[in-house]
Symmetry: C2
Subunit: 253 residues, 2 copies
Amino acid sequence: MSGRLAVVGLGPGDARWLTPEAEAALAAAEALFGYAPYLDRVPPRAGQRRHPSDNRQEIDRAREALHLAAAGRNVALVSGGDPGVFAMGAAVCEAIEQGPDAWRALDIRFLPGVTAMLAVAARVGAPLGHDFCALSLSDNLKSWETIERRLDAAASAGFVLALYNPISRARPWQLGKAFEQLRRHLPAATPVVFGRAVGRADERVMIATLGEADRIAADMATLVIVGSAATRLVARPDRAPLVYTPRTGDAGS
Amino acid sequence: MSGRLAVVGLGPGDARWLTPEAEAALAAAEALFGYAPYLDRVPPRAGQRRHPSDNRQEIDRAREALHLAAAGRNVALVSGGDPGVFAMGAAVCEAIEQGPDAWRALDIRFLPGVTAMLAVAARVGAPLGHDFCALSLSDNLKSWETIERRLDAAASAGFVLALYNPISRARPWQLGKAFEQLRRHLPAATPVVFGRAVGRADERVMIATLGEADRIAADMATLVIVGSAATRLVARPDRAPLVYTPRTGDAGS
């Protein structure tokens, strides 16, 4: 009997964002792996074994899931958001590349999901409505110089920016430094959206400007979208403004 | 009675990528608007009026949907993929900004979906596994110079690129010109993924290199992902290779 591995995107917190494809893969799995808070979002089913793990153990988690799949089991490895965006997808590929040949023969499927930037953007309008970049501010696995170079390149060329992993206890200064860097290219009035825990009970979405962005609290569960010079606010009575980037994507158009 | 408008992301072609939230909004709507081929993907329901429209009429379509919502109806406007990514979200915001004040008082919700680049990426592994940009190659609403500047900025800074709207009958040369531009920054061996009609019966996914990318046919239904210098292939026996960008995202790491 040959096993298989599904790398499943759960989407952001709200179960109404879980795709039917992902739901079916979770229901069919004999064993589930994942970062514990993500696994907690999957309803228990009889006969399934659950293997929760800590954060920042992506490669080990991927290897354990591959190992069990290679032993013939139907395994699901869950990921928040979309597995291909700053999540488990790349770790699984890396583990396969470095692992035993048998892992390359496995039936592996990657199941896409709604990634955080799409959910945060949807809460306020369409800030990603034109060309944009997704950039992780974590300098655990790349240099801060690389991050600064990418911030410069993206902002000066007119891309909107979605910032993943903006801050953590071990990385307290990176987001402030990124805002400082972006202010060299963008007006202080540029809209910035902070989306925390979107789709969960403690969701909090804030709209600020780049000039005042340092005053807004962010944490590990926050996704930050920084507009381009073209990004606009539409004021509304008794509602938060809409934030959108026009389809032209050119500043001043 | 106050109307409302849901701007609904259908995801790519496969109904198993439609979120439960989007499904519920489609079921509750009294009227559905959308580009005809997208509306065709929504099963008919008794008592619903359907208003299909042609492509490239985004603003008119948005206005008609807003007009009916302002008249007190529960309206859904459908979009392929995610409404916030090169789709109807920005057109709706633009129509509201330019429209009558009453439209700003409406209950508007944007419902996120799986956008094409996530589905294409999932078919081959995790090519968007690290920092990436999403860029539309359509020069209908922005200049080709702007597009070239963004291609240069993104590729030279090490972003992977997801190219939306790569080609159409009216824009036959843009994709080839983009590859030419990218070859100034990236090795000929850089992996390129062509995902056509992903999730539909006529799906076709091809993996090529930047050096040979001109030889692969693309059309309006194609999404192209161009790797960075860090993007890797993992060969597999009797299966297509995996394509992924390591979590470090640095070339040569």
